[in-house]
Symmetry: C2
Subunit: 98 residues, 2 copies
DNA sequence: ATGATATTTAGCTAAATGTCTAAATGAGTC
DNA sequence: GACTCATTTAGACATTTAGCTAAATATCAT
């Protein structure tokens, strides 16, 4: 949980998550959307990955990043619930098991 | 919004907000719950106040901190809504606003 | 005015963070 | 194998952060 909030503290990383919401993207595609170097973006990706907010797989030469929505959801909802925020109607989100 | 997420990145500060959920407390009462010095706590309070997450008033010798639930709520819900998380049921909230 | 209590400000250190360039690694292609 | 493209690692640097102690400020009581 701490790692998630640490990861969310940086605007670049929050933006990465937003972009990924529309579907998986390669490291390069993501990097092209930001005014910082690729190594810098790579460091941000590492932090997001270690927080569990994104997952990766290789596709040929590229590394594809994909949003782990359930992790973001868990963190936001469970923290919010400590304050009675939003917890009443848990969204029946995209295909998880159950 | 960035200030709110920055403020939430530290576990001490998140815990302060949780304690404040049960009602207003003085700086000293809050500090007594944490294993760090009062000046350090004071710095955390400043960050929370600048993010708008807490408000203060003086009461005699003491400074009373109170949670600004609506600010936390706005940040969490509006960020969550970018991802379709939880946002469908808008806060049916209790008392204190503004 | 003095003294006691509560909190913040000042000044410092050590560690973490975000950024860069240059070099290394991995994966296809010729 | 050698080349090229995509990404990450290494190393350096500046800034920010969280923590401390000591001192300043503010309020109340005597």
């Amino acid at each position: 949980m701490n790692a998630v909030f640490k990861a969310l503290a940086d605007p670049t990383r929050r933006k990465v998550l937003e972009l990924l919401r529309q579907g998986p993207m390669t490291a390069g595609e993501l990097s092209d959307r930001f005014p910082v170097s690729r190594p810098t973006m790579s460091a941000h990706f590492t932090i997001l990955r270690e927080a569990g907010l994104v997952a990766t797989h290789k596709d040929g030469k590229s590394v594809v990043y994909r949003l782990q929505l359930s992790v973001l959801e868990d963190a936001l909802l469970s923290f919010g619930q400590l304050f009675g925020i939003g917890g009443t109607a848990p969204a029946p989100r995209e295909g998880s098991s159950t």
